[in-house]
């Protein structure tokens, strides 16, 4: 008889006393692949730098974001240019406030909008899509038609309406963006769920008698997380752009709060007076943030789905 082999059994007996070996999960493989992708690593470093800037940049500011520099306020074009001597590293805005402090504040709000929207998309979209795809049949029909209907509503219109009716506030903006951001995610997740639920390991769980909701949470969702993480990362810059557009229309966050979009909008309207720094700095941070997110998202896609390369 081939089994049990004496040598094997001795090996087993020896190994029983041995320490447990740590497993190499698919996630740790992905980390290795990600770290080999130079563009993605640079994107991540830049992104971390920007987030640190938005969180702690205020400590290095000589002026707060509300103080008005009365001495220079009258003649911004001539005296409000960026300068290290007077502490206005990024210059002054049209009201005599410190652009550095304003940019820190705006970056923070813009990234927050992106992260919150994307978080809602991950939680709501993943659960909704996974449940719809896994249970299938009538449940799936109803849930997905609902998404179709919601998607057919011009969301920009609804968002603007919300902001007009309930007043412009950052809370309303979060609600509005949260309402729409999960729709695409739920569709993507549902499609992926349909593939995963036909895999044999799901059948094995069903045959054993594992309860349906537990199958969704323990077998389906963990196998979706790759695509969810990638899509969520790529969703953030989209949401930042949406917020900027609304702010550009003058409907976004309200003074004295600000966002990159609001700053760009203001800067663009003042450009004709020769105060280009009011546009340049927010625009620079806006673009660098977007690129950093795109690079990180692409890097994640390659790292988590090696077959796609």
């Amino acid at each position: 008889m081939v089994y049990p082999d004496k040598a094997v059994m001795e090996g087993v007996a020896q190994a029983t006393g041995m320490a447990e070996v740590k497993g190499r999960s698919l996630w740790s493989d992905a980390v290795t692949r990600y770290s080999r992708n130079r563009a993605a690593v640079i994107g991540l470093v830049v992104l971390i730098a920007i987030i640190l800037f938005s969180l702690f940049g205020g400590f290095f500011a000589a002026w707060s974001n509300e103080e008005i520099d009365w001495g220079r306020m009258g003649n911004i074009a001539a005296t409000g240019a960026p300068s290290f001597e007077n502490g206005h590293y990024f210059g002054l805005d049209d009201l005599g406030r410190d652009m550095y402090a304003r940019t820190v504040q705006g970056t923070r709000i813009s990234i927050l909008v992106g992260l919150v929207g994307s978080f809602v998309a991950v939680v709501v979209g993943t659960l909704y899509g996974a449940v719809s795809g896994y249970f299938g049949g009538r449940t799936d029909q109803i849930m997905m038609r609902t998404v179709d209907i919601l998607m057919s509503i011009p969301f920009m219109f609804v968002l603007i309406l919300l902001l007009v009716i309930f007043g412009r506030s950052i809370g309303m903006l979060f609600v509005g963006i949260g309402l729409i951001s999960w729709l695409d995610m739920s569709r993507i997740v549902r499609g992926q769920t349909l593939t995963i639920k036909n895999k044999e390991f799901v059948e094995a769980a069903i045959a054993t008698g594992v309860k349906p909701m537990r199958i969704v949470l323990r077998h389906i969702v963990p196998n979706l997380l790759g695509i969810v993480v990638v899509y969520a990362t790529l969703l953030i810059p989209g949401l930042i752009i949406t917020e900027s557009f609304i702010s550009f229309l003058g409907l976004g966050v309200q003074e004295p709060s600000t966002s990159l979009g609001a700053l760009i909008s203001k800067g663009a309207s003042q450009m004709q007076y020769g105060v280009i720094w009011q546009l340049g700095f927010p625009l620079f941070f806006f673009l660098v943030t977007l690129f950093a997110f795109f690079f990180v998202g692409d890097g994640l896609r390659d790292a988590l789905d090696p077959k796609d390369r």
């Binding site: 008889m1 089994y3 041995m18 497993g23 054993t208």
Partner: protein
């Protein structure tokens, strides 16, 4: 002894829609399994043989309960599966476990093997203390020939044979009464196949398991089975004791299957006259009328296209679905 599992005239049909067809056109019926009957005694092993697409996996799924049957009965310890309430159904699920063909695909890639093996236990005995779960998993890993210190590894870090051992451990942790092995060695290297089959035989003997062992290859099944069912296009062609079926096969299809197994001795292999199977398996959506095997049968008669041939009982459990059956002893030496 009363059978632990009794399958009576089981039918499984799938609704198949052609892609792009209108929602109101009625779906076509695919008879994946048509009237299969057998009894399985405790501790017994039933082999199921047939080419790919003959409905073996579907039969297994119907018994496990992951596809609904559309006719016939499955009696588990005398009770009809379809008539069971949900509590009884759950106990049935813990008594019947399955081992799958593709060992890697049957394991969740995001779970460490310790959790995979423990899942049935946690599902049915959720109050087991963690230390106890771990102890049982480790003991079982050792029993199936895996190093217990690999408990935190992930499936992709194992070879095919090791993955199948993980699948076996998962199937055995609840000490089930019946284990259904759906082509457990077809995806493995030949050298590993023997090890896994031997492990299964040993476990079956030690734990007193009943077993249904599915394969497309008669030589694997013959080793391990007490009885064998030969299927073709969802229908049973012949069923008998393993010894009777392999030494005196009556049905032309069984004879063809046996003759497709090569003889290790090249001289005898060359001298052998073998009725090789010609042609393709017909589409299960439109099976041939009468005897489903007639398009490839070397002995086919015009009358074979008429009615479905009835099962002929030859005594001592030997049944054959061909009126022109005749024992062919010549082939007996082949395997």
């Amino acid at each position: 002894m009363s059978p632990i599992l009794s399958v009576q005239d089981l039918q499984v049909t799938f609704d198949v829609r052609r892609p792009g067809s209108w929602p109101w056109t009625p779906p076509r019926k695919l008879h994946a399994v048509g009237s299969v009957s057998f009894d399985l005694a405790p501790g017994e092993c039933l082999g199921v043989v047939g080419e790919s697409g003959s409905g073996k996996s579907t039969l297994a799924r119907a018994i496990v309960g992951t596809v609904p049957s559309s006719g016939g009965k499955i009696l588990w310890e005398g009770q009809d599966l379809a008539a069971m309430d949900s509590t009884k159904r759950r106990t049935h699920r813990r008594d019947v476990q399955m081992i799958f063909q593709d060992p890697l695909a049957a394991l969740n890639p995001r779970m460490p093997v310790g959790e995979i093996i423990a899942e049935p236990l946690i599902t049915h005995e959720p109050n087991t203390p963690r230390a106890e779960v771990k102890k049982r998993v480790a003991a079982l890993m050792e029993r199936v020939g895996l190093l217990p210190n690999l408990i935190n590894r992930y499936p992709h870090e194992f070879s095919g044979g090791q993955c199948q051992r993980i699948g076996i451990a998962r199937a055995l942790i609840l000490k089930p009464k019946l284990v259904i092995c759906d082509e457990p060695v077809s995806a493995l290297d030949v050298s590993v196949q023997a090890q896994v089959v031997n492990l299964l035989m040993e476990l079956q003997r030690d734990m007193g398991l009943s077993m249904i062992f599915i394969a497309h290859d008669l030589s694997v099944v013959k080793h391990i089975s007490d009885k064998i069912v030969v299927m073709y296009l969802g229908r049973v062609m012949e069923q008998a004791d393993a010894r009777a079926l392999t030494t005196v096969p009556e049905h032309p299809y069984t004879q063809a299957l046996i003759s497709s197994v090569p003889i290790p001795d090249p001289r005898r292999e060359k001298a052998r006259k073998r009725p090789v199977l010609e042609g393709e398996l017909p589409s299960p959506l439109s099976p041939p009328s009468g005897c489903v095997f007639r398009t490839r049968c070397p002995k086919a008669q015009p009358s074979c296209a008429g009615d479905r041939p009835a099962m002929i009982d030859l005594g001592s459990g030997h049944r054959v679905a061909c009126p022109y059956h005749e024992a062919q002893q010549v082939l007996a030496a082949a395997i």
